[in-house]
């Protein structure tokens, strides 16, 4: 009797094992797409242990050619037969490109190549090679560092991106496409060696096989350029339009540099673009941004946008890629965007609508002092004193509050219900603040001396609280401290 029970149990166990094994097999598979230049798209489940020759065998029938004639192109490289799938930095739903090789000689070199696995520098673009992810040297290291660390860094190149889908800092992956047709079936002539190779357009040429007729450029040799872009490596590929902004200042802390602010050694870190390469952990970077943002001390840079420099005040250390500020929490990032937009309007000679809760940016005619908040609250105001519009000279400050309610009533009757509250805060602002004589930013003096420095970054005008004009030695002598 027990023999029969044991037998049944053994059979059951074996079945269970089979079942779980089968499941394991399936979960290991990597679903990807293969695109051909004839417009076909094949979806495949790849085993990471397979190599490229397996893929060729699977793809060849749908192209109607023999497996030796198939070329597999991915991320700017033609992949060689003996490369394993797991080496290729493929994610779920990544797209491989399959095309027919152009000539017989090419096929011969290819098969020879796989045996030798030598690196032929003269002809990199045309012969199959290792995938970009494994040949690429770490762009964050400079020439010397690379040589020093080659032995201990076997890991892949590291990129960080801000992923709009994951809404956070993610590991990134580098991808390549043709700058003319934007197709991904593109092989580069050389690997990028520095950030400039990747970020500055038209640095590296290559061959495009995305279409049946190769793309041609206006260059002497007629070859198109590689266009590099980044994707998030932490979610499945969302197709060819799924980009992420590279955060070039964020690096792996291979040198174990302590944070300039908290002194902790963390990984990854942000390295400011100054000569000294001052390094900050990401928490302290956020703290730095928030404290500067609250004091409105970001700078509106003509080329880079609304940005910050190294906190140690190094020269030429502005952060060029403003996507780094996306690391801030949403509320702060929203404020960053609002301040940035306001600063842009002010620097282009525009004004901000002075009505509470409006603040609409308005670009104005240089010779006209009458400003109409057309797309906002409809308030009509004077460009100089920021009060309701008037004819003739601006009124002195004290007279304005009496005049205000009348002009407001006539301007926008629908606002009257809310006017009292706004009026109350307006009076409070008028009593406790004075406008910067240069940019009219309302400034509160909370103790201290009469020497004011405008708190708006980019203005920084030094003025006298009493005279309400530029600070002079006379002010210092007469009423420095009131």
């Amino acid at each position: 009797m027990s023999f029969i029970i044991n037998f049944i149990r053994a059979v059951l166990d074996a079945m269970l094992e089979l079942f779980s094994f089968g499941r394991k097999g399936i979960s290991n598979k990597l679903p990807i797409f293969v695109k051909t230049n004839t417009g076909k798209q094949i979806s495949l489940n790849l085993d990471p242990e397979w190599n490229i020759s397996n893929v060729k065998r699977l793809v060849a029938p749908s192209l109607g050619i023999s497996p030796d004639e198939v070329k597999i192109i991915f991320a700017g490289k033609e992949l060689e037969d003996c490369t394993r799938i797991s080496e290729c930095d493929l994610g779920t739903q990544s797209v491989l490109h399959a095309v027919k090789s152009r000539s017989r000689s090419e096929i011969e070199t290819k098969s020879k190549k796989c045996l030798e696995t030598l690196f032929d520098d003269e002809n990199v673009g045309d012969v199959p090679s290792k995938p970009l992810s494994s040949t690429l040297v770490d762009l964050q290291l400079k020439g010397e560092e690379r040589r020093d660390s080659e032995s201990n860094i076997k890991a892949k190149a590291h990129f960080f991106v801000h992923c709009p889908e994951c809404k956070k800092l993610c590991r990134g992956k580098l991808r390549v496409r043709c700058n003319i047709c934007k197709g991904g079936c593109f092989t580069v002539h050389r690997d990028p060696e520095c950030w400039d190779d990747v970020l500055v357009p038209k640095k590296i040429q290559g061959h495009c096989e995305s279409k049946e007729i190769a793309c041609m450029s206006d260059e002497e040799n007629g070859l198109p350029f590689a266009e590099f872009y980044f994707k998030c490596a932490e979610h499945g590929s969302g197709g060819e339009k799924d980009y992420a902004a590279p955060l070039t200042l964020i690096k792996m802390n291979l040198k174990k540099v302590p944070c300039l602010a908290c002194g902790d050694i963390s990984d990854p870190v942000l390295v400011f673009p100054c000569v000294a390469g001052h390094t900050s952990c990401l928490d302290c970077f956020k703290l730095y941004c928030i404290s500067r943002l609250q004091e409105r001390q970001f700078i509106s840079h003509r080329e880079f946008g609304y940005t910050l420099a190294c906190p140690v005040n190094c020269e030429n250390s502005f952060i060029q890629e403003i996507h780094h500020f996306k690391l801030l929490e949403k509320d702060y990032y929203d404020r960053y965007q609002q301040f940035g937009a306001e600063e842009f309007v002010l620097q282009s000679g525009g004004v901000l609508c002075p009505q509470p809760n409006c603040g609409m940016g308005i670009l104005v005619d240089e010779n006209c002092n009458r400003v109409h908040c057309q797309n906002g609250c409809n308030f009509v105001f004077c460009k100089i004193c920021k009060q309701g519009y008037h004819i003739g000279d601006c009124l002195p400050e004290s007279a304005i509050s009496n005049n205000m309610s009348v002009s407001e009533f006539s301007v926008n009757p629908s606002r009257v219900a809310g006017a009292r509250w706004d009026e109350a805060s307006k009076i409070a602002i008028q009593v406790t603040t004075k406008p910067c004589p240069k940019c009219r930013t309302a400034t509160e003096r909370a103790g201290g001396c009469m020497h004011m420095a405008c708190t708006r970054a980019g203005c920084n005008f030094e003025w006298c609280w009493i005279c309400q004009t530029e600070w002079t030695r006379d002010c210092m002598a007469a009423h420095w401290f009131g």
Partner: protein
Amino acid sequence: MSCPAERRLRKELLELLTNPMPGIYIDEEKVAKNINEWIVTIEGAEKTIYEGETFQLQFSFNEKYPFDSPTVLFIGKIPVHSHIYSNGHICLSILTDDWTPALSVGAVCLSIRSMLSSATKKERPPDDMIYTRTCSKNPKKTKWFFHDDTV
């Protein structure tokens, strides 16, 4: 987890206690009670006009430290010096305009000690009377003019 300012201050404290700087002593008991308030004793350097005298500096840190500078002033006996007001306020650019997060408590103490050491005459700043009568309690609220970088 403690905030970055506290972590940084703990590191600075540990560093100053393990590698003390000559003539600079930290009141450990006071710091142990509140990491954001430090009392540091500074000895006048040898062969200077302050030799044999000791002074106390009070450091206050906010949660934005080290991106925001500490508030530093002399308490108790105030050294007579042309950049130090009789209420303890110090006219030193690294405490306001030129502060950077790369500076530290140790660096500030060293600067103040060398500022004392380089003086040749014991005198108050020329505007001491008017300043101390009208200024804010917080020295960071004063917009300083740094006329003289040599002293």
